[in-house]
């Protein structure tokens, strides 16, 4: 099956927007984005990471907490609070990493639009400051590097 294209744009100096279509109804996609046992199966980042902790208190004012772990036992935690929730079309939440690499709180807005049984999800990540996005660059670089190393490993063992 062909994979839907992911669009990544930077509409302003503090924002990143990702858009992707999914072959499922909106309610189902909303569930996959918000039910812990489902989120734990896909929100894993680069290869080699698992998500041992995924707690979601799905209501406005409710908190969520994610922890990822890699093969070497390194952990990365993140959490936030839900600010807006319109099931199944809109979700706004703050996002803050334990080690504060994003330089403060990030605001993540997720919008779901359904057309003929398919759902387009657009995620807007707004960083707190200009410096925050620079931190995201460093993180992206590290993560990307890790992913590349794993791919190299795969190449070597093939």
């Amino acid at each position: 099956m062909k994979t839907a294209a992911l669009t990544v744009t930077t509409p302003s100096e503090r924002e990143v927007v990702m858009t992707r279509e999914f072959d499922a109804a909106r309610g189902m996609v909303f569930d996959a984005l918000t039910k812990p046992d489902l989120v734990q199966r896909w929100l894993l980042g680069p290869p080699g990471w698992t998500m041992p902790v995924c707690e979601i208190e799905l209501r406005v004012g409710g908190k969520y907490r994610y922890v990822w772990r890699n093969a070497e036992g390194r952990e990365m935690g993140m959490g936030g609070t839900f600010k807006e929730m319109v099931r199944p079309s809109r979700l706004v939440a703050t996002e803050s990493y334990d080690d504060h690499w994003t330089g403060g709180e990030t605001l993540v807005t997720t919008e779901l639009v359904e057309t003929r049984g398919k759902t387009t999800v657009s995620t807007t990540v707004r960083y707190a400051t200009r410096e925050a996005r620079d931190a995201a660059l460093k993180m992206g670089a590290t993560k990307g590097l890790e992913a590349s190393y794993v791919r190299l490993d795969e190449l070597f063992t093939a």
């Binding site: 992707r20 489902l38 680069p46 620079d134 670089a141 992913a147």
Partner: protein
Amino acid sequence: MKPTSYTLDATFAALADPTRRAILARLATGEASVAELAEPFDMTQPAISKHLKVLERAVLISRGREAQRRPRRLEPRPLAEATDWIERYRKIWEGNFKRLDAVLRELKHKQKKTIDALLDEVKPKPNKKRRTR
């Protein structure tokens, strides 16, 4: 000035404008003077100069040494850094979303099985006489 920390914001800000992107596209084909750049865009030289200043501050372009024309030319590195970053970000999320596709396929399959089972229950069975007590 730290190259990565200051250029990334400046790079994205500079790239946010369509005229500046067009100027970069033009300069990708070779260096050009302010007058040469102003012509195809149907803009005054001062207007073009303003855009060029933004691009220069973001180090997306630089000025040649030729005294009279001071041709502008493309500086490829910051542009590459910016696109690299988006590429890395995209790679991570492409992985996440592929797994999400698989989760959704499974949910749809389960939903279909549930619906089929329900339909099967309400369907009249041909060989059994059912009584509603």
